[in-house]
């Protein structure tokens, strides 16, 4: 059954996306405003279930690449995601029949709604991460062998750069350097897919799931103890599966430094009453690994989400500060990330940790 998104749903969708962003993805405030305006102007958008994708589709993924914190100052024009579609069609000489999000975490979960509303191109209910992760080669599109190009990136001047690179890691380097040269943020159309590729590579249902999640968090506004049960039920009925309460406590230390353009750091959380040893949370833009007493209790690609204990609002990693009372949830990732091929690029070792991934349900 298809799900319709109206301008009144956008705030909930953003909340759900910040929850699934596991600390990364940046503040979606500006995108939220843009999408709300677009949906007011052009009307609601129906999400297309992946199962309903016709056989002769040309699916293209669109979104923004760069530094979310820079875009709070240099705002997007607001039409970039339309521009990338026009230019892509002109370049490859074919109509894009369907679009899909990079990631359901942060701004990119809502940006494609603008294109879907304004251009009336069906938006597939799904994405390439089911969460947020920092680099292009970590998207399921790349993992499933979809070529990243032909791809193009539109910058703030309205200028456009075209890419023809077979390798996702090389493409990631190229596009990130372009973003840096062009004010910190570019919009791309990339990873074009046939119907067969799209069915294999897209994680289905994640956009409508983020909306349901955001709604649940609004309707059950209250402390994390009360929200846990409805959250469990929701995740249980999805591809994510298990949601596990990992820890409740107070942030007693947070340190961050920059390594290779990423925010790397660690948060230490102490339990109330000292019943358990402290939790250590490793951060590389996203929350990647959680340990208690030296034992891993959850790790990437499974999701680690931090919420404010009193309100259950998800907390972005740049907003973590000493003294916050927080609850940490661990959540299974969809099966797309559990394959051997996927784990090569998204397991703890891919981020420089010296241990193998163990699924959360076995921890």
């Amino acid at each position: 059954m298809s799900v319709t998104i109206t301008h009144e749903d956008v705030a909930d969708l953003c909340t759900g996306s910040v929850f699934l962003a596991t600390g990364g993805g940046g503040d979606p405030y500006i995108s939220q405003i843009l999408v709300q305006e677009a949906l007011k102007k052009y009307g609601p958008v129906d999400l297309l279930p992946l199962a309903d994708l016709p056989d002769d589709a040309l699916v293209v993924t669109i979104g923004e690449v760069g530094a979310p914190s820079v875009s709070l100052e240099q705002l997007p024009i607001g039409t970039e995601c339309l521009d990338v579609i026009d230019r892509f069609e002109e370049w490859v000489g074919r109509k894009i029949t369907h679009i899909v999000s990079f990631e359901v975490g942060g701004a990119n979960s809502v940006i494609p709604l603008i294109a879907a509303a304004a251009k009336n191109i069906p938006l597939i209910d799904g994405d390439g991460m089911a969460r947020a992760l920092p680099e292009a080669q970590m998207m399921t599109f790349a993992i499933e062998g979809v070529r990243p190009t032909p791809a193009l990136a539109v910058d703030y001047t309205g200028g456009c750069v075209y890419f023809d690179t077979a390798d996702a890691v090389l493409y990631e380097r190229q596009v990130r350097n372009l973003a840096m040269a062009m004010g910190g943020m570019v919009f791309t159309a990339e990873h074009p897919m046939t119907s067969e590729e799209a069915r294999r590579a897209i994680i289905p249902g994640t956009i409508s799931f983020a909306l349901r999640l955001g709604r649940l968090l609004r309707e059950n506004f209250g402390n994390a103890g009360l929200v846990e049960k409805p959250l469990k039920d929701l995740f249980d009925s999805s591809d994510y599966g298990l949601l596990k309460h990992l820890y409740t406590g107070k942030i007693v230390d947070i340190n961050r430094k920059t390594v290779g353009g990423f925010d790397v750091g660690e948060a230490v959380i102490e339990s109330v009453g000292g019943k358990q040893g402290p939790m250590h949370l490793s951060i590389k833009n996203e929350f990647l690994v959680a340990t208690v007493d030296g034992q891993v209790v959850a790790s990437v690609p499974d999701l680690i989400t931090m919420v404010d204990h009193e309100t259950s609002s998800p907390i972005n990693s740049e907003r973590v500060h000493y003294g916050q009372r927080v609850t940490i949830f661990g959540i299974g990732c969809p099966p797309h990330y559990r394959t051997e091929r996927a784990l090569k690029v998204v397991a703890p070792r891919a981020f420089g940790f010296d241990f193998d991934f163990v699924p959360i349900e076995k921890l």
Binding site: G26, L34, P68, E73, Q74, P76, I77, M180, M182, V252
Partner: protein
């Protein structure tokens, strides 16, 4: 001798300080014209102290007049915004997320022109003479005189804002223009919101600053006077008339500063216990710790420097339920003096519990003889555990910290607190705001996003500190006392160029005859 004055919505407080010593203090009603209330307060403290007006070296005033005007949507001038940013931000125009009532109060006079800079200083687009002329023509046509100007990354490079403003000023000589980089930090929407609110408050600022100087003139006090800002520092009267929005939230800041001065503690947690809530704030190096989330002023998102205040639902009027195991957040509030049991009422409040425990002598304790001792004990323990939890959430290390108790409800804390290494209950805490105002220093901060690979850190710091020092001297500081108060550096995420957001804050002593303050 200095006079500190706090002009609140209800009360105007005044103190006379001789260095750190409180010589006189008073609390009078705020008058509708502000001026009479200030005159009354001055009369009271001058009479109490017997000090001659010529002995007064400086007057410092804190006020909530401007915050209240925004919240109540009154006395706001029709205001225009000129944003220098196109093509960026085309579909996210200024005021897009404002509540209708306040957007209507200012009018929706929005102009967007080409220009601005990227994070690394590259021009987004050149300024266009035709566009600027067009805006000026339109402004002349509409007769709007209050104008805010914002440009992308103006905190790093303000030249375009300055140029556009100069062009407007040339054609509209009586225009009053607020430049966004003068008033806010990174975050274009929030910064231009602050500039808009500020520009719209300029007529009220003239009026308020005039009534301050009028009141002082009435009492022949001719020394300079200053107005306190939300970060606990002062600005000159002329500066305040130009930047009234910088007074938002100066109330809690002055209260924290006052607590610091009264106790001589620079690092402590301050708990201001009122009738319904307790406000918990943190002093770091004698100044309030600032909040790091977007602050709403009357429904408008801003990124003002505001103290990080944690309000908990516990005060002298909090209801005591469930045999003492539940206290607050419901409260009888200002009706405590009629509804509280010690005052002959029928509602068991936190104040009643404190009296029953023998920790305070308020009202008639005989009204409480029916209370079971187990209820009293449970409730007293609960009061302390609520405050402990609140302090724990705010303090900046895991060790116990000095705690300063102020406000009318401070008697509620009668035992030691787990989170407190020591408990201080300073005298004169009822006029802590006025004391805080009287002791403020001048301070200023600036922010940039830079890549140290391109510009060495030393050079960045040198440029920033030189700029701040000249700003501070302009605001009334003595040059040789100006020093760096804080340097904060954060990585800009997802950038491979190791870009860093650097924020520098400097403070200095005010230049007046005999130096006060710490």
């Amino acid at each position: 001798m200095r006079i500190g004055i706090d002009v609140g919505g209800t009360h105007t407080d005044a103190v006379i300080l001789d260095d750190q010593k409180v010589i006189a203090s008073t609390k009078v009603l705020t008058s509708a014209n502000v001026r009479d209330g200030v005159v009354n307060a001055l009369d009271e403290v001058l009479e109490q102290s017997g000090i001659d007006h010529v002995a007064i070296e400086a007057v410092m005033i804190g006020t909530t007049q401007f915050t209240n005007a925004v919240i109540e949507r009154r006395e706001l001038a029709p205001t225009a915004i000129v944003r220098v940013a196109l093509p960026s931000g085309e579909l996210v125009p200024p005021m897009i997320d404002w509540p209708d009532d306040i957007a209507d109060a200012l009018g929706r006079n929005v102009y967007m022109i080409h220009g601005g800079r990227t994070y690394d200083g590259f021009p987004i687009a050149p300024l266009s003479d035709e566009e600027i002329d067009e805006v000026i023509k339109d402004l002349i046509g509409s007769g709007i005189k209050h104008i805010a100007v914002s440009a992308v990354f103006s905190p790093s490079d303000p030249l375009q804002e300055i140029e556009v403003a100069a062009r407007i000023q040339q054609k509209i000589p009586d225009a009053r223009i607020t430049l966004s980089h003068k008033i806010g930090r990174m975050g274009l929407l929030e910064r231009e919101n602050a500039a808009l609110l500020n520009a719209s408050l300029l007529p009220l600022a003239d009026k308020v600053v005039d009534s301050f100087s009028g009141a002082l003139a009435d009492r022949q006090i001719s020394c300079p006077f200053y107005v306190s800002q939300n970060d606990g520092t002062l600005m000159s009267a002329e500066f305040a008339a130009e930047f009234p929005a910088l007074t938002f939230a100066s109330g809690p800041t002055n209260s924290l500063r006052g607590a610091s001065l009264l106790t001589q503690l620079n690092d402590a947690v301050v708990v201001d216990i009122g009738g319904t809530t307790s406000d918990i704030g943190v002093l770091q190096d004698g100044f309030p710790r600032q909040s790091n989330v977007a602050i709403d002023v009357g429904g408008v998102r801003t990124n003002f420097r505001m103290p990080d205040i944690h309000a908990i639902g516990l005060g002298g009027g909090s209801l005591v339920l469930d045999d003492g195991s539940t206290i607050g957040p419901q409260s009888v509030g200002y009706k405590l003096v009629t509804e509280g049991m010690v005052f002959g009422g029928n509602t068991l409040t936190a104040t009643d519990i404190t009296v029953a425990s023998g920790a305070a002598d308020i009202g008639d304790a005989t009204k409480l003889t029916g209370l079971e001792s187990s209820v009293i004990e449970t409730a007293v323990a609960k009061i302390h555990s609520i405050i402990d939890a609140g302090i724990d959430q705010m303090k900046s290390s895991r060790d116990p910290v000095p705690v300063i108790l102020v406000g009318g409800g401070a008697v509620l804390v009668s035992r030691s607190l787990e989170t407190a290494s020591e408990l201080m209950r300073p005298e004169h805490s009822g006029v802590a705001n006025a004391i805080g105002a009287a002791n403020a220093q001048v301070g200023s901060e600036t922010e940039r996003i830079v890549s140290y690979r391109r510009i060495p850190r030393d050079q960045v710091l040198e440029e920033m500190t030189a700029l701040l020092k000249s700003e501070l001297i302009h605001a009334g500081a003595e040059g040789e006392t100006v020093k760096i108060a804080d340097i904060e550096e954060t990585a800009v995420s997802y950038m491979a160029d190791e870009s860093t957001r650097i924020r520098v804050k400097m403070i200095g002593d005010l230049s007046f005859g005999q130096k006060g303050g710490s």
